[in-house]
């Protein structure tokens, strides 16, 4: 970036065949990615999936084992990090402890010889509502305040590409929402390109134009948040982004625009254009909030899938909705989110229930079934506790 001037606009970022190996493990495996200029891009994934390494490679803090990094069409793979038009909001903030807040924020501006560095730093601090604390040292601020200073310190440089490494993690919900909106506003205003790394799926979905779900050093699926949520292509995405009910069965025949899958003897239809594979054994799924709960067997109708009867094994009330677990013999547990349209639960624990959903809501996954568990691997504590309880109850009954 030219000294003494701000970036005119965001630049696109292109990663070509990127590999990063550390002694003993591979962090990133053949990553190809293009982020268009001016977009808000989120890399979403569990810890250890390689998303932070990707960010550090782009910032120039790590060297790739192979592959190229292009910013605004220019190959920066071998450019030193201090010469890249990139700024990072670090997860650990990394605020210089021997400098005041103001000195921290104006640090980058001064290094680039930008006029009125102090004035611009004050402006950036006003943006994060911390200008009144500009004379303090970072240690005298709370965690949330430090995070906002870190944000101001990066944003004030108006980089062509802003990298955010889980920057909102320490903020409380209200401030977090506020900062998310601020970030969006800054991004719209200057048209910077934002690359946001997070493990918080809600944050990724609310803020980003495009979300890439990363797993084991590779991008599993990429697209607009709605698209990813409504049509996940792999079991990992289906479960990492929200919850899913997954079933595995053989495709028996096709019927018009749909394929029919045999799930433990029940014929389930999935639209052809929403299924990644159309033959053999496949895994299909449906989101819990798309399911309708019935207390008596629903009438068979075209375009509707029905499973049941099953038994309600858990009812948990969570304000706007209630989560039901229904154990269907031969199929397993099905999770249903139902809006609380009436007071109290619609069905009670132990009641007999059926679920149904419109064929259009189902999706078929790409995974080879032998690689995916037969049923969704719910790892949240509630489900684990529930399953353990069932196993115990079964043992007691047998005894």
């Amino acid at each position: 970036m030219a000294a003494g001037a701000f970036a005119e606009a965001g630049a696109d970022l292109e990663l070509v065949g990127l590999h990063k190996r550390f002694p003993g493990f591979t962090a990133i495996e053949d990553l190809d990615l293009t982020i268009p200029a001016g977009s808000f891009f989120a890399l979403l994934g569990p810890s250890g999936c390689g998303k932070t390494t990707t960010l550090r490679l782009v910032a120039g803090l790590e060297q790739p084992t192979s592959g190229r990094i292009l910013i605004g069409g220019k190959d920066v793979t071998s450019v030193k990090s201090f010469k890249r038009p990139v700024n990072t909001v670090f997860q650990s903030y990394a605020l210089f402890p021997h400098m005041t807040v103001l000195e921290n924020v104006s640090f980058g501006l001064k290094r680039r010889g930008i006029a009125d560095a102090t004035g611009k730093a004050h402006e950036a601090l006003r943006l994060v509502e911390l200008d009144h604390l500009s004379a303090r040292k970072p240690q005298q601020l709370s965690g949330g305040q430090q995070q906002r200073v870190a944000l101001a310190r990066a944003v004030v440089n108006r980089p062509a590409l802003l990298l955010l490494d889980e920057p909102l993690g320490a903020l409380d919900l209200k401030l977090r929402r506020q900062m998310q909106l601020e970030l969006k506003a800054i991004q719209n205003e200057v048209g910077l390109t934002f690359l946001h790394v997070t493990h918080d799926q809600e944050e990724a979905m609310t803020m980003a134009d495009t979300v890439a779900v990363m797993n084991k050093g590779q991008i599993e699926q990429m697209g607009a948040p709605e698209e990813l949520y409504e049509l996940p292509k792999t079991a990992f995405v289906a479960n990492f982004l929200g919850q899913s009910n997954l079933f595995t069965g053989d495709v028996t025949n096709s019927k018009g625009d749909s394929i029919v899958v045999d799930i433990a003897g029940v014929k389930i239809e999935v639209p052809k254009d929403r299924a990644q594979r159309h033959t053999g054994e496949i895994t299909i799924g449906v989101r819990p909030e798309k399911l309708m709960l019935h207390t008596e067997a629903p009438k068979k109708a075209p375009g509707v899938n029905i499973l049941g009867p099953g038994r309600v094994t858990d009812v948990s009330f969570s304000g706007v909705s209630t989560q039901y677990q229904i154990a269907v013999p031969g199929i397993g547990l099905i999770t249903v989110f139902a809006q609380n349209m009436v007071f109290g639960p619609v069905v009670n624990l132990g009641a007999e229930a059926w679920v149904s959903w419109t064929v259009d809501h189902g999706f078929g996954l790409l995974d080879e079934p032998e690689h995916t568990p037969k049923f969704s691997a719910d790892t949240d504590t509630a489900t684990i506790a529930l399953q353990t309880r069932h196993e115990l109850l079964a043992e007691i009954e047998e005894a």
Partner: protein
Amino acid sequence: MAFAAFGSTAGPVEQAPRRRSWVALVLLLPGLAYLALFFLTPLVSLVLTSFQEPVEFGDVGQFQQAFKIENYATVIEAYWPHFLRAFGYAIVATIAALLIGYPLAYFIGVKCRSKPLLQAMLLTLVIAPFFISFLLRTLAWKQLMADDTPLVQALKSLSVLPADGHLTGTAFSVIFGLTYNFLPFMTLPIYTTLERLDTRYLEAGADLYASPATTFWKVTLPLSLPGIVSGTLLTFIPASGDYINASSSFLGSAQTQMVGNAIEANFLGLLNYPEAAALSVILMGLILVIVGIYVRRTGTEDLL
């Protein structure tokens, strides 16, 4: 007194901080007693001695208590070059030790972080000279720098040293000896601050357009300042009072005598206790002033 810490039952909440301060005082007592006996008493005795005058028609080394303030004027007049040399040599040696010790400490504390074994070995090497007596090591250097050694011959043939030149007995060899002997005292405190230096600050510097050199001046150096200050103090204070390196039996000569040598000569050779004491008091006062100004200028008062 100590039993009060266990016995009292009344008002446990309000009493707690007060009781703790009593315990602290009891624990401090041995240290305070030690300081009073072995620091304060000799100090008072030293100041009193510096005002003594010779006993009339007495033996050499016989003095009586007086208020002879002229002792100070006499020693300043007689030994001001010794003071200049002491502080001059000590300052140069401190700077040399800093220039050698800082990169050494940086290499061990930052660059070798991923190799703990190498780090431990290098640290041991820094401390290793302490296993041999300070006097022996200085004598060894005297041998190495003697006139007929290959080192001196080589310097002479390269015309770095004139044909009739020496290494021992010069200001160079004294400063060299001071630098060598106090180098670990410089390296270790700097190492401890650099060892804790969070390299993420360096990454942040690079991310904010600072070249490695700028990052060093703006981030690394200020963050390691406490180590530099304690290292320079630990080097400068003993170096300015040192009398081994500059002594004629080691690396010095009559022309390189420092104030420490003058004090030694007066106390142990000439048995002129009042003048030796006056020299000591002046040396102490000057070091206090210099250190005070230095610490204030570097903005690390919390070290004192």
